[in-house]
Point group: C2
Chain length 125, copies 2
DNA sequence: GGAATAGTTAAGCATGGACTTGAGTATTGC
DNA sequence: GCAATACTCAAGTCCATGCTTAACTATTCC
């Protein structure tokens, strides 16, 4: 299992729509803090906090020259999440085949289950 | 751009550690609600709420037979998020090459930038 | 039929996180 | 030097979400 809290911090960063929009913007090229803040109907300080979250989990990188801080995408930033998803998709797909499903079935107790009378299955009853 | 709120609901579901643990558990095979609730130090009702979130965004599926509800992974559930990540990794990687980076640079004003005196760049001043 | 089991729903509390305000610091232009 | 610019930090408000409790329904076992 790869670093758990890394996944956690990346997901927490991505779950906020504003931060995803900031990422979209930065994927079109670097921008300063004020350039990033401008399109959002929110204060400078709020955007700054979002940027700090994004940088803390390695999704963006920033450097300050003089009084201007320029932010850009950290290219490998999404890799841990991509790996996490890839790891979970493989086992999930494995359960498509019936055998795997039966083997994984809970309570395979051999004491014959009495024939149930009321057994119509209902999605979302 | 693919369905925005779908990504949103998947991320909101995944950001909660308990729900990720439930997914891990289910990726090893189907389980009933009480089987899922047992390992967590939390009430039945709380786990049920997590399951509802996971099912609402298509990450798991459940069916009730008699009084028992059995949950299992929805195989394609993570696909939208995987696609979203894939879409964002390509442009980000493109910015690795210097040309793309220069083209995307903000303010490429041709009026010669005067040589700055105080220009030591500092990460995280 | 009645008790036990398995799940469901609703209401309320508590915490975390997004956002604001306001004050402060460093840098640049004149 | 002084004002404007560009950001930084801290404190406080507000709301969404996770969790609990408690009451309720449906199903199964005896």
């Amino acid at each position: 299992m790869l670093n758990y809290s890394e996944i956690d911090s990346i997901l927490r960063a991505l779950v906020e729509p504003t931060r995803r929009q900031i990422l979209e913007r930065l994927s079109r090229g670097p921008a300063t803090v004020s350039q990033l803040a401008e399109p959002f109907g929110m204060t400078f300080a709020a955007v700054l906090q979002h940027l700090q979250v994004l940088e803390a989990c390695g999704l963006i990188r920033s450097e300050k020259i003089g009084r201007v801080r320029t932010c850009r995408i950290e290219p490998g930033g999404l890799a841990p999440l991509a790996d996490w998803i890839a790891e979970r998709r493989i086992p999930a797909e494995r359960h498509l085949d019936r055998l795997g499903q039966i083997l994984a079935e809970p309570d395979p107790s051999p004491k014959g289950q009495s024939p149930k009378k009321n057994q119509q299955k209902d999605e979302k009853q």
